[in-house]
């Protein structure tokens, strides 16, 4: 019991992934600034934002559902943290009693997005409702390509459905990114991450100038801080998930730690560069993009995985 609480709260869980995710979000902002020839925020900026938001007043909208409104960010944080635990433990190669299948991770990664929708609809704001409906459509869009990519990964790893088995399979047979279907799957899952994180080509759920931050419009103070913490944790969990699926996992022993940092950093760099070089698309363009093009690539990826290419 004690070790599970340690896993959840300290090492791959809340504390570690919160700090690392904050650092990664700083890296993201710094790269964005450098791309635009700016200086960028200082290193402790995510911490300043978080502490400041916690110290501020929290406003509860009077015409919303109060309990749901307050509980939705907490559920988002729980979902993000537990998916970070289930992703980071197998990726780092820690042998535990946890045997999380890839389906569990798939569903846990959806909890933050669904909590955003519930929280936005509970706030009673019409702009938040617009954002929530866009987020719903976005989930419907990116879910099918994501599942198809995961199917191709499962086929390539000899029908291993446990995430730790997929990581250990790659240690003996080479990383999946080395094959053609691996590259196609990587491209697809990169786009799905972009939509899951709500980053720029697919950030129509919180369009800033358009619907005033959309789903998080009514959140303020400490519950907004919890939303930010959820984003930080997802910033670590999703690149780690990709590096476990395609790069053969991470390792914290000796010189391997540099290699692991490089793997996560490569995914973050790609996400950030996609974010900085694209304008926001409309929701139906995003749906068309995922349902037509990403699904096409993902189906070809599954076929190639069956053929063993």
């Amino acid at each position: 019991m004690g070790i599970e609480i340690f896993y959840f709260l300290i090492f791959p869980g809340l504390l570690f992934s919160g700090i690392m995710g904050g650092f990664i979000s700083w890296v993201d902002r710094k790269i964005t600034a450098r791309v635009q020839f700016r200086q960028g925020p200082p290193l402790l900026q995510p911490l300043y934002d978080f502490v400041k938001l916690f110290a501020k007043e929290t406003i509860i909208p009077s015409n919303g559902s109060i309990t749901t409104f307050i509980l939705a960010p907490l559920f988002a944080l729980f979902g993000a943290t537990i998916s970070a635990v289930f992703i980071l433990l197998p990726v780092l190669g820690v042998e535990t009693g946890f045997t999380a299948g890839i389906i569990v991770i798939l569903y846990l990664l959806n909890i933050p997005a669904i909590s955003y929708i519930i929280g936005a609809l509970a706030s009673g704001n019409p702009l938040a409702a617009v954002g929530a409906s866009r987020e719903m459509k976005l989930i419907l869009s990116y879910e099918l390509p994501l599942i198809l990519v995961l199917i191709s990964v499962i086929i390539k790893s000899g029908m291993a459905i446990r995430f730790s088995d997929i990581v250990t399979y790659q240690l003996t047979h080479g990383a999946f990114i080395g094959s053609l279907s691996g590259i196609m799957g990587f491209v697809t899952i990169l786009m799905c991450i972009q939509a899951k994180m709500g980053l720029v080509p697919f950030d129509m759920a919180e369009g800033e100038g358009e619907i005033c931050d959309g789903i998080i419009i009514e959140f303020s103070g400490s519950i907004l801080a919890i939303f930010k913490l959820t984003k930080y944790i997802m910033f670590l969990a999703l690149p780690a998930f990709v590096s476990g699926l395609f790069f053969g996992g991470l390792s914290l022993s000796g010189i391997n730690i540099l290699w692991s940092i490089l793997k996560v950093f490569a995914v973050v760099l790609l996400i950030t560069l996609i974010r900085n070089t694209n304008p926001r698309v409309r929701i139906e363009q995003a749906m068309k993009f995922f349902w037509l093009w990403m699904n096409l690539i993902a189906v070809i990826c599954v076929i190639l995985a069956v053929l063993g290419i």
Binding site: Y48, K52, K56
Partner: protein
């Protein structure tokens, strides 16, 4: 100085409210985000919702129509909030003082923490104003720490 104030000063999120301006000050405010001035160095960024804001930038004269809206936006903001009047219009009224729909300078409507005059003020002047405001010691009974607006 406590850790709360320190973090507050290093992460100011700015909400920009035009109370009836000619768009000149607004363009100068957007200049602050460009690579030349880059206020993100200091942790400042523009936010889309007043619920996330720490700083309320008001530009333009407060007319009789917008007075109620300015007050409403101020009351919607989570406290503590800093109110900054950008440009001559919200500071004094400028050439519109004798206008038929002029509802008084901004500090008649909501408590103002800093005035940045100019038509429009230069981006350097806005940065200097914010730095001066943040480097002074906090006063006791400051209006921005109370939660009710005093119209």
């Amino acid at each position: 100085m406590g850790i709360k104030e320190n973090c507050f000063k290093k992460s100011l999120w700015v909400f920009h409210l035009s109370a009836g301006s000619c768009n000149n000050c607004d363009i100068e405010i957007l200049d602050l985000l460009t690579p030349r001035y880059d206020v993100e160095r200091f942790g400042m960024k523009l936010v889309g919702s007043i619920r996330h804001a720490d700083v309320l930038l008001v530009t333009g004269i407060v007319t009789k129509k917008t007075k109620a809206r300015v007050l409403e936006v101020y009351e919607q903001a989570p406290k503590p909030i800093i109110v900054i009047a950008v440009g001559t219009c919200p500071c004094t009224g400028g050439i519109f003082t004798s206008g038929y729909n002029f509802a008084g300078p901004l500090d008649k409507v909501i408590p103002v923490d800093a005035y940045i005059p100019g038509c429009p003020p230069k981006p350097e002047a806005m940065l200097a104003g914010i730095v001066k405001l943040l480097s002074q010691p906090p006063k006791s009974g400051n209006p921005r720490t109370t939660s009710e607006a005093q119209p």
